[in-house]
Symmetry: C3
Subunit: 399 residues, 3 copies
């Protein structure tokens, strides 16, 4: 175990992570070595946690989270990731404070950063807004840092915006690496990222966008499928095409779940809203148009309902390679007959892969900790090596 | 002090605590040695805290709390107990996440447990529900642990359910041990656990149930008294009868506060709701029957009002042994003329014992820490001994 | 750096801080050496943080905050200050617990203190209430400590009451010391603490009161200016007169912003409500008089609106010494044309000093940590010296 971790740390030392003193906002802004470094750091951190080695690299320090949408998984993962490194977490509750737009974002960003190492933000509700907000915070921190207001500039970690969900997508990639044995083993594997029916509306685009833009980097054949009208936004699509061309993989768009599932090694059926609906919702919410919002929801649900056959069932799973593709989901899933009448996945398929989806989610605390480690330290490999060498334990030894 | 702590740790080493990798849900599920071990661990932890010795046994790790009812005392005690051992606490706010019933409990239990050592739950509002919910969480954690989803299985700590309130009851037992000198000294002492009048309704049964099921274990003569219709549920009553028979103590039910108080060494007058009302309330809440709920509350308050003479006063205290029984309460108490017109206890009795009730409550953080220590470590005595030997201080020394 | 910190610690050792086992409620209750000691401790803590030295002096322990008003800055500063010393913070949310007035304050104070080192309270909404509440908590802790209920008595730290805002005022003083070079250099400098127009109402008096009562101690010429009807309460005014007389500075009241700004070295233009309005508001809120409250707000806003010329603009700034006085604000400021139509300060003046106000705010976490250090340790200088000598780092070293 120890030897294995050492060799991974050696490998990490050879990578140009390029994250030091930066943020992690959109995965496609970073080179492949950055992604590989985050994967490796997450793997080493998880290995150390399993072997009982403490990875407390901060004696004091804060991790601040800002959640502009509900969250269980990512909220916990951020806290757990911070704690694993020794940071105390606090959530900025905007209802009891004054984070807003424009002038005030700039001010609040400084006010919560004096002794802070990382700021995790979820802002995924409004297409065209979330990423912009994170950039505002990031810019404010740069200014405050350059001008000597801050002792240290905290890293902004994207815990899901309107464009990307990088902690999810990289945790998913860790899951694929673990399932297929290595990053190299993913080459030539087919992954189907498909829309799926849901009786709810307004689900963000960031998961499918993050998946197609990330998984195309490593030689996979990524097929995106969705009904007409459910297109993703252009920026991650463009990234996916570019990465596929460079990696020797491929990226294509299909018009049915079945076509995408055919011979797939991995399927990721998940609902999202049409971009046009999300944009209109942002506009109506701003204008305070309650009646029109209700009408928009009705229309959107009616639109979804036209595509109930986009469900991942035993029948569609049979189309996949050997009938046994890996099923993935970011959770919570809309499971037909369990938490909804007709949803993204049938009960029997979900139940078969349920514990796998828990394992998939289990990588997230380590991916977040890896991002913090990479952004906060000039040479994360030497920091990790020092953790191994000092032999501090995560919990007291007991006979 | 040091010698005293060492001898207690030696005694602890000789007990079969049997808690390792388990939960603490209902005190009557555990043998006497488990209870004794928790008492001893709490005593040692408190002694170390008083002498300034650090008991930080976790370098990193999380304690998650879920409160489905209001709480000041127990919420603080859980946080303080976790912090005493080095765990960072976080509260799962169900309004900003998605813990629900059935399928989702199973999922959420895994999602909040990847790096978690303990999950403290209060779910005491609905008779027939709270304990069931904790068992669901516990089962989900077992599955996730056995199937390798979790690195470690966190312990579920019952911070009050519909059946038991073990952190309160064991803190109360610590208070008795401290007051009377030893666990052995409790043998033959009479404890009156009695209903008392309150102008509020819906108070859970878990405190009286926890008290009668616990205090009968150590040879005390426990008398339960309540008006007709205010019976406790059968499971803890059965446990109380069984423990009394085995311990050489006794357990009986009286029909007046005076009868119970006569020659008592300890009195615990406290209000609770009739089980039938709590069951009906659960049913009506589920059915969303607001009008019927209001009617139920009126009926219940009218029922309570028929028993205003069930108040602990100077006159009833005179009936106790030497007129000076120890008064106990889990707080907050309904004090007549202070926070209500006519309540559980008269102002003068309460004021006389007020600081004693604060001392009683002060054991709770240590009892919770003891439960975590016992459930997380194979050999808590060696963990505690190592804390003593390393001589780390809880706070820096200052000339 | 190291030598510089050592000499400051030596200087600290020579001061009679007089804070050990006390609270920090109102700055004027303490002697000049106490204020100087807090300033020095804050400076040393900040210096250590900048040099990467860990100031973790608590291995475990809690800092509890109670916020009875919205807060971003002070809430963060309390958490960051606690974390810098190793304390885990928790906020007591009164909506999910039972802190109230009278009997219950006494009880809750004990319940949240068993393993707590500091309790930070903001209660600034009701004139005549906030300080009283803190004294109630303080008295309850004294009783619980003297009677042996608590292992240790936590310090109560005033995070803003109706009378004073000492963590703000001392952070402001730190900012002045840093700007002008030393505490001695403030002698003879003119500071204008002036009312300024705001389109909001009900802002507390604690900042101007805290400023005039503190800055008069060190030989500054403090001029307070406000429209008729916006007088401050007598206690801090009396303190300001007393301190000015003793320190060789001066304290006077002017009736226009221009008069106060003339030749000022420092200006602090900030809105507050008339004391009479705040008192009436307290009365009406208690009586539940919603209609009268709305009328009071209308009147108060109309009153404010009569004084729109009380705005800090480029023109008024020209009146100050060399046209370049230091502009100060506790934030958030009402900036004309930015977050309101006509506010306390023009956009161009604010923008010029914006980063300075962030630096001003940046001292607060260290001032709070200094108060905790001073109240919790008999000899803070030896505690700080030990931190320097053990050479523990705040974050892991990285090549």
């Amino acid at each position: 175990m120890m030897t294995d971790l050492c060799s991974k740390i050696d490998k990490l030392a050879g990578l140009e992570a390029g994250l030091h003193d930066k943020d992690f906002l959109l995965s496609w802004q970073y080179g492949d070595e950055t992604i590989e470094a985050v994967l490796l750091m997450a793997e080493v951190l998880e290995g150390m946690a399993r072997s009982g080695t403490s990875t407390r690299v901060f004696d004091t320090g804060l991790g601040i989270s800002i959640f502009r949408d509900k969250s269980t998984r990512t909220r916990y993962a951020f806290r757990a990731g911070c704690n694993l490194l020794g940071l105390m977490t606090e959530e900025l509750d905007e209802s009891t404070s004054q984070v807003a737009h424009g002038e005030t974002v700039r001010e609040t960003a400084a006010m919560i950063s004096y002794l802070t190492e990382a700021i995790g933000i979820r802002d995924d509700m409004f297409l065209g807004e979330g990423h912009k907000y994170m950039v505002q915070v990031s810019d404010a921190l740069c200014e405050a840092s350059v001008k000597g207001v801050l002792i240290q500039r905290p890293a902004v970690i994207n815990l899901q915006c309107d464009l990307d969900h990088p902690t999810q997508a990289i945790a998913d990639l860790r899951h694929l690496v673990k399932t297929f044995g290595s990053l190299e083993a993913l080459r030539g594997k087919k992954l189907a990222m498909t829309w799926a029916h849901s009786p709810s509306y307004g689900k963000p685009l960031s998961v499918p966008q993050g998946i197609v833009a990330l998984m195309t980097r490593f030689g996979m054949d990524v097929v995106l499928a969705h009904p007409d009208g459910y297109q993703l936004v252009e920026e991650p699509m463009e990234a996916a095409r570019r990465f596929a061309a460079r990696s020797g993989g491929s990226f294509s768009v299909a018009s049915s779940m079945g076509e995408a599932f055919r011979d797939a090694d991995v399927v990721y059926p998940k609902s999202w809203a049409p971009a046009s609906v999300l944009r209109e919702r942002t506009r109506l919410l701003r204008a305070g148009e309650a009646t029109k919002l209700a009408a928009l929801e009705r229309e959107a649900l009616a639109s979804n309902a036209r595509f109930k056959e986009w469900e991942c069932t035993e029948r569609t799973m049979e189309l996949t390679k050997g009938g046994s593709a890996l099923y993935m989901h970011c959770l919570p899933a809309d499971v037909s007959g369990v938490n909804c009448e007709a949803g993204e996945v049938s009960a029997s398929v979900f139940e078969r892969y349920r514990l796998e989806t828990y394992r998939e989610a289990g990588h997230k605390p380590f991916v977040i900790a890896a991002m913090i480690l990479g952004t906060r330290f000039h040479d994360p490999s030497s920091v990790l090596r020092a953790c191994l060498e000092r032999k501090a334990v995560r919990r007291a030894n007991s006979g």
